[in-house]
């Protein structure tokens, strides 16, 4: 496998973004969000392909902006059990991660994130 992590971090291609990692706990059965942890990361961000939008967004959501993120940092999506999806703040907008593909052997993670509003 070719490790392309050096390319992912190359400033000619990459940009900086903020990863917002949510946490929280149940109190008397009600979920209370903890203060999210914000960390700066670098990666390549591009508009997602139309094919990705068709594959991953439900029909009513397709007008929203979908971005592809390639990064050496961990970006995770919710698993429906005990993890909430990461949020990505980039260029004044916030995006919710809807898929994360672990290309660890090639040195990166590719994620898809859909716009949710202003960061």
């Amino acid at each position: 496998m070719i490790d392309v992590s050096e390319l992912i971090g190359d400033p000619d291609f990459s940009t900086t973004f903020t990863r917002v990692r949510a946490g929280g706990a149940y109190t008397n059965g009600r979920w209370i969000d903890a203060t999210p942890v914000l960390t700066e990361h670098i990666g390549i961000i591009q508009p997602a392909t139309t094919e990705d939008a068709l594959n991953f967004l439900p029909e009513g959501e397709r007008a929203k902006t979908l971005i592809s993120i390639w990064s050496i940092s961990e970006i995770r999506m919710g698993n429906g059990d005990d993890i909430k999806s990461d949020l990505i703040n980039w260029q004044g907008r916030q995006y919710r991660v809807i898929q994360s593909r672990p290309w660890h052997l090639s040195g990166y993670i590719k994620a898809l994130a859909v716009e949710t509003g202003a960061a």
């Binding site: 149940y26 109190t27 059965g29 698993n79 429906g80 993890i83 909430k84």
Partner: protein, 178 residues
């Protein structure tokens, strides 16, 4: 009492009847992770289903301001608490709850919270396949009455003179606030 408060009361009752820990019974549809894969839990969803009889309104003078009226509107509502148990002994837990709802302590607890117990439905086994594995799910509806109330404040009329004229005489009246 809001639907949220009713949800809190029903959850506390279910926890108490089945001796469950604090976070086992949760409101339904929270934007939150449900917990690790082997962690059983239950959710409570309160659904208003019908009105019973006719709502009525009554007026009283605001004790703090004689120029304001208080309108109290009250009506009886029939509600359903849909209780879903997930994982573990889900169907057994729902079956136990069905039995325990007949206990005097359950009915008393509901009455103390202003809820009139009607009946509990039969238990439904909603066990399903999730991620290629079987997940036990049991569901039961608890039906009850609650009183819906709204209190509105509105200005009443002030004091003002009225003169009534006809060909024979003139009579002056004054209308007073109630």
């Amino acid at each position: 009492m809001t639907l949220d408060e009713i949800n809190d009361n029903i959850r506390a009752m279910v926890r108490g009847l089945l001796s469950l820990d604090a976070n086992y019974v949760r409101p339904a549809y929270q934007n939150a992770p449900v917990g690790a894969k082997n962690e059983p839990f239950a959710t409570v969803l309160i659904m208003p289903v019908a009105s019973a009889g006719q709502d009525y309104s009554a007026f009283t003078v605001d004790p703090n301001n004689a120029n304001m009226l208080k309108e109290n509107i009250r009506g009886t509502r029939r509600l359903i608490a849909s209780i879903n148990f997930y994982r573990g002994d889900a169907v057994f837990m729902a079956t136990r709850l069905k039995t325990l709802m007949a206990s005097s302590s359950a009915i008393e607890t509901m009455q103390q919270n202003g809820l009139g117990y009607i009946r509990a439905s039969e238990v439904r086994d909603l066990t399903d396949f999730v991620n290629s594995l079987t997940e036990a799910r049991g569901q039961i509806d608890i039906e009850f009455y609650a009183v819906a109330g709204e209190r509105l404040s509105m200005p009443t009329y002030g004091r003002f003179p009225i003169a009534v004229d006809n060909s024979d005489n003139t009579q002056s009246l004054e209308v007073h606030e109630p």
